[in-house]
């Protein structure tokens, strides 16, 4: 895994340095007060005047000591602080949204499969695809305008109300929850389609297997056949997909975070790229790479645990 990780960092490093523009350009450019000499000084300050390989090895050396370096952004804060401060909210929203997706998509998938080509199946198919096709920013703005401004049911943006500090614990949880309703709903809505269709096709495949026929022949009720015998097998591949979504937990969506004014990872990374904040970009990429590798490993282990054939193949 370590060579793979180094490979990932090397490629990332090269790619971000291929993009034209440097962080110092953005801080001094079109500013009548800044001289060329100042720009040189800033480049030296950030170590950008050294040859690229040297910059890379310096960075790698610091990383080995778990030092992600200081951001090139004008706040000059340690990269790790900036990432850790934004990670919890991103993970919270992603976990809630995956939870919501599973909660809704699994029943829809099962029901669509068992009642194939029924009105319900067709209606949900249309519904989830509308959700898939609809631009999330547009849906978000509509919901904010209707539920937030007109009806006043939910807060529009942000995570906490003003005066959050003065609320009791219950009040704080309620406040946070009401702020999370719209963002979680909007981010889950787009993901429903994929999951429910996936669940539906898995289920369809499973209920045509011989062991389901056997279960029915034993005289089990349809409920037990579907929920105990079929569902378990149909869920296996879904668990694999969950393993693969581990790195996605820390990745946020720029559009979505921008609209809801949520300070998450997506916007942090996007702003970092726009400012050519190399240490920050590399920091986010390294953490993402580690999580991807861990996710893959978990998925492999999960497969082996769930399916004896894979264990025996070795």
């Amino acid at each position: 895994m370590v060579p793979l990780l180094i490979g990932i960092t090397l490629i990332s490093f090269i790619v971000i340095h291929l993009a034209p523009g440097e962080p110092t350009d953005l801080q001094t450019q079109l500013n009548p007060e800044a001289s060329a000499e100042l720009q040189q000084r800033l480049r030296a300050h950030y170590g950008l005047d050294k040859p690229l390989p040297e910059q890379y090895f310096n960075w790698l050396g610091r990383l080995a000591r778990l030092d992600f370096g200081q951001s090139f952004h004008q706040d000059h804060r340690p990269v790790l602080d900036k990432i850790l401060e934004r990670m919890p909210i991103t993970i919270l929203i992603n976990v809630l949204s995956i939870g919501l997706i599973l909660l809704v998509a699994i029943p829809i998938g099962i029901f669509s499969a068992t009642h194939r080509n029924s009105m319900f199946d067709r209606a949900t198919t249309v519904f989830v695809f509308v959700g898939f096709a609809m631009p999330s920013f547009w849906l978000a703005l509509l919901l904010m305008d209707y539920l937030g401004v007109r009806l006043g049911w939910f807060p529009i943006a942000g995570l906490k109300s003003l005066g959050f500090e003065y609320l009791g614990l219950g009040g704080q949880i309620l406040d946070l929850a009401s702020h999370l309703v719209l963002p979680v709903f909007v981010s889950a809505f787009g993901g429903l389609a994929g999951f429910s269709r996936y669940m539906r096709s898995n289920m369809l495949e499973v209920i045509h297997q011989d062991y389901i026929l056997t279960a029915r022949a034993k005289g089990l009720s349809e409920r037990v056949v579907i929920l105990r015998h079929a569902l378990r097998n149909a869920l296996l591949p879904v668990i694999t997909i969950l393993g693969l979504s581990v790195p996605g937990l820390i990745g946020g969506s720029v559009i979505f975070e921008t609209i809801f004014a949520i300070p998450g990872m997506g916007k942090l990374f996007y702003d970092g790229v726009m400012m050519r904040d190399y240490p920050l970009i590399m920091g986010v990429l390294v953490i993402g790479a580690i999580l991807t590798l861990v996710g893959n490993l978990l998925a492999d282990i999960g497969y082996a645990v769930a399916d004896p054939r894979i264990r025996k193949a070795d």
């Binding site: 993009a19 034209p20 523009g21 440097e22 350009d25 953005l26 801080q27 001094t28 450019q29 079109l30 500013n31 009548p32 007060e33 800044a34 001289s35 060329a36 100042l38 720009q39 000084r41 800033l42 300050h45 200081q70 952004h73 004008q74 706040d75 000059h76 804060r77 900036k82 401060e85 934004r86 703005l141 904010m144 305008d145 937030g148 401004v149 006043g152 807060p155 529009i156 943006a157 942000g158 995570l159 906490k160 003003l162 005066g163 003065y166 975070e257 921008t258 609209i259 809801f260 004014a261 949520i262 300070p263 916007k267 942090l268 996007y270 702003d271 726009m274 400012m275 050519r276």
Partner: protein, 545 residues
Amino acid sequence: MRLSVILPLFLLVFLCGCQQDNATPVPSASNVADEGSLAPVHGDTILQGAIGDASNLLPVLAADSASSDINGLVYNGLVRYDKNLEVEGDLAESWEISPDNLTFTFHLRRGISWHDGQPFTSADALFTYQLYIDPKTPTAYAERYRQVARAEAPDPYTFVVHYDQPLAPALISWSIPIHPKHLLEGVDVTKSPLSRSPIGTGPYRFVEWKAGEKIVLESNKDYYEGEPFIRRVVYRIIPDQATMFLELQSGGIDHMGLNPIQFSTQTATPNFRRNFNKFRYPAFAYTYLGYNQRRPMFQDKRVRQALTHAINKQELVDGVLLGLGQEANGPYKPGTWPFNETVKRYPHDPQKAKKLLADAGWEDHDGDGILDKDGKPLAFTIVTNQGNEQRIKCGEILQQRFREIGVVVKLRVIEWASFLKEFINPGDFDATILGWTVPSDPDSYNVWHSSKTGVGQLNFINFKNPEVDELLEKGRRTLDQAKRKQYYDRFQEILAEEQPYTFLYVPDSLPVVAKRFHGIEEAPSGIMHNFIKWYVPKGQQKYLR
């Protein structure tokens, strides 16, 4: 990330900060709870909408507008602009300029203390100067202070600076926020905790900063001009303009800048009028089409004049700004002292444009509807940056107008960092649509002088005119405003004749403030100049703690 793309800097940081009007007497804080009364009282919170988070609350390190808005409330300079854009004292009570215009002596106010209780003295001013010119400080503002030959603090309330040559913008350059020496001396500024929790002398003291979410300030009870009426200022960071507008309507924000569509159509409801006050005044900015004079076709001024004649500026104002702006004819803001009203104008006149081009040798010889000369068609590309819708719309309208006189124009929109690196810095473009913010001091040496045409410098269109060079040099070395006016009037005449840029339009600033805030006064500098005098009458206060 629309924020960082909004304006190339010509930063006038402290103008938008908190400036006060000394003429208004300070009413004493009355505790009489008179429900219907509109008397100024202390209390309440204002929620300001901000598109981007601040970067750094140590002014020496920050270059973005969000940081400077907040720093303007937390720090003071020695001097500042008043509401009419005249220089007035801030931390300096008065100042003297020596007859040779080389020495400035500032007499500082006594009894001012930092937010942590330490006294403010001239040592802080001297330290601030040393901090700005220290090669170890990564600041974008060092240049102006390096022109200082010597600075000294002969006693705790006197600060003296000497220059080798007279410099017109020297006085206002001392509006830089003064940094606290006792907290920063001998420290690596980039690692100072003050960049996340500043300590200044200003009307508001820092309370908390939740990155990407909000910044909270609280009124400074010991402020030298009296405690501001509004007790708390909360900057809420809402990166999307549409969301911010929804927040405004639902009461989650009290003050923001509108865009033209929001101003003209979306705020026309009775409900909106009942709850908000809208303001409209020209912004300190203009948008232009700059012709790269390294390109042979743009070296003939008749071509540049013809293109200006082909443009209908009013159409741009109407189409791009929905009428919320005005035509621009030069680099200064209409209504300010350097502005020259009498320069040559170029009305929309396609026939005249064609004639000028014909005089320059550009005619449709091969009958394909496109002008050509020596077998080459008159075609060029306009580049502009991604993220600024107005500039892109402008480009599309210009494309159409230029086509009418037989000029083919392509429009390319490029991400900001690449745009600077690949096109503007090396001077490798035909024409560009960009904007400048207009400084209150007319010194434009860095943008128009022929010595500033190098890689990465601001005269990237390569405009070279010996008379302009001379005028700009004289203008910045003279402190007499009447004389400077003569130089800059002539400078504007030359620009009008030469048309190195087609000056397109000056947009309007369109701020909106919740109606419960009283005492707002529109002035040439905008509405923020008397922010510490804004108040909410007792009965209308919304946030009690």
